[in-house]
C-alpha cells in the first residue's frame, strides 16, 4: 500500500451544489404539479394527455426527470464511494449507474414526446 500524501482532488464542490440545486428544482416542480393537478383535476386519459401536450408542462416534466437522474447519480455514486472499496468493482458500478441513468433520461424523453 502506497502512503500517498493527502491533498484535494480539486473537485466535489460542483457535485455538492448540483445535488442541492436539483433538489430545489424537484421540490418546486412537485409543488407546482400538485397545484396544477388540483386545479385541472384530469379524470380521463384524454385529459391527462391534454395536460402533458402543453409545451411548458412537457419541458418542466423533462427538467424534473433530468434533475431526478442527476440527483440520483450523485447520491448513488456517494454510496459506492462510501462502501465499495475495490477500484475495479467500483468503476464497474459507476459505469452501470451512469448507463442506467442516461438510459432512463432518454426513455423519459421518449415517453413525454410520444404522448
Amino acid at each position: 500500500m502506497i502512503n500517498r500524501t493527502v491533498v484535494g482532488a480539486h473537485y466535489g464542490l460542483k457535485d455538492w451544489i448540483i445535488q442541492r440545486a436539483t433538489a430545489v428544482i424537484m421540490a418546486v416542480y412537485s409543488t407546482l404539479m400538485l397545484a396544477v393537478l388540483l386545479i385541472v383535476r384530469p379524470g380521463t386519459f384524454e385529459a391527462w394527455q391534454g395536460l402533458f401536450a402543453n409545451g411548458v408542462i412537457k419541458f418542466l416534466t423533462f427538467l424534473f426527470f433530468v434533475s431526478l437522474f442527476y440527483h440520483a447519480w450523485i447520491g448513488i455514486r456517494d454510496i459506492w464511494m462510501d462502501y465499495v472499496k475495490p477500484t475495479g468493482l467500483r468503476l464497474g458500478l459507476h459505469v452501470l449507474t451512469v448507463t442506467l441513468l442516461v438510459g432512463y433520461t432518454a426513455w423519459a424523453a421518449a415517453i413525454l414526446w410520444r404522448l
Binding site: V6, V7, G8, A9, H10, Y11, G12, L13, D15, W16, I17, D78, M81, D82, Y83
Partner: protein, 236 residues
C-alpha cells in the same frame, strides 16, 4: 449522594492473551464523593488492575479518557455516573484499532488532523509584539479553538468509519476551519484547495453525530458548512 454499588459491563481485550474481545461484568462500591464516571473507573482499577484506560487531567481538558459510554461517545471525566443506566456499558471508541481494553490507536485520527496543517501560516515578518485581530475577527474563532482532539466526534461519524484514510473527519475539519477563519492566516486558498475533494470534505453527509457527542459542545457540522460556503463564494 450516598454510598452505592454500580454495575459495569466493560469491553476487555488484551491481544497478547485473548483470542477475541469479551465483555466483563463487574460491580464497584462508590463513596458519596464519587460523582463522575472516571471516579468509578479509578475504583474499578483498584479492584481489578488489569483494566486499561487512558486518563490524564480528569477535568475535560486533555481529551484522554474518551470512550463509548452506554453506546454514546463521551469523556469519562465529564459524565455524571448517576445519570447513566446500569449496567454501564463501556466500549472503546468505534472504528479505531483497539490496543487494549478501551484504549484505541489514534494514529489515523491524528494523521488526518496533521493533513490540514493545524498551525498559522503567515509569511510576513512577525511584528514586534503580536499579530493583532479585531474583536469581531477574533469572535469567529470561538467554538473552534476549544477542540481538545478527544476523537469522540470523528469516531461517531460513519463516513470516518468507512474511509478513515481519506475523509478528514469532523475534528480535522473543525480545526481546518479554525485556520481558514483566522484573519492572520495567509494560506486560505491553499487550505480550501487541499479540502476540495469528494473524500476529504464531501464525505460529510451532514448527519450531525459529531454535534450530538462533542463533550465540549462544539459544532463541527456548522464549521463544515462554512468551509463549503467559502468554497462556493470563491467559485462563483
Amino acid at each position: 449522594m450516598s454510598k452505592r454499588t454500580v454495575q459495569f459491563s466493560i469491553y476487555r481485550y488484551d491481544p497478547d492473551k485473548d483470542d477475541a474481545p469479551y465483555m466483563q461484568e463487574i460491580s464497584v462500591d462508590l463513596e458519596p464523593t464519587d460523582r463522575k464516571l472516571l471516579d468509578a473507573l479509578t475504583k474499578l482499577k483498584a479492584k481489578d488492575d488489569t483494566i486499561a484506560y487512558r486518563r490524564s487531567c480528569r477535568e475535560g481538558i486533555c481529551g484522554s479518557d474518551a470512550m463509548n459510554i452506554n453506546g454514546k461517545n463521551g469523556l469519562a471525566c465529564l459524565t455524571d455516573i448517576d445519570e447513566l443506566k446500569q449496567p454501564i456499558v463501556l466500549r472503546p471508541l468505534p472504528g479505531l484499532p483497539v490496543i487494549r481494553d478501551v484504549i484505541v490507536d489514534m494514529t489515523q485520527f491524528f494523521k488526518q488532523y496533521h493533513s490540514i496543517k493545524p498551525y498559522l501560516i503567515n509569511n510576513d515578518p512577525p511584528p514586534e509584539r503580536e499579530r493583532l485581530q479585531s474583536p469581531e475577527d477574533r469572535e469567529e474563532l470561538n467554538g473552534l479553538y476549544e477542540c481538545i482532539l478527544c476523537a469522540c466526534c470523528s469516531t461517531a461519524c460513519p463516513s470516518f468509519w468507512w474511509n478513515p484514510d481519506k475523509f478528514v473527519g469532523p475534528a480535522g475539519l473543525l480545526a481546518a476551519y479554525r485556520f481558514i477563519a483566522d484573519t492572520r492566516d495567509q494560506a486560505t486558498n491553499e487550505r480550501l484547495d487541499n479540502l476540495e475533494d469528494p473524500y476529504r470534505l464531501f464525505r460529510c453527509h451532514t448527519i450531525m453525530n459529531c454535534v450530538d457527542v462533542c463533550p465540549k459542545g462544539l459544532n463541527p457540522t456548522k464549521a463544515i458548512g462554512k468551509i463549503k460556503d467559502m468554497m462556493l463564494r470563491r467559485a462563483i
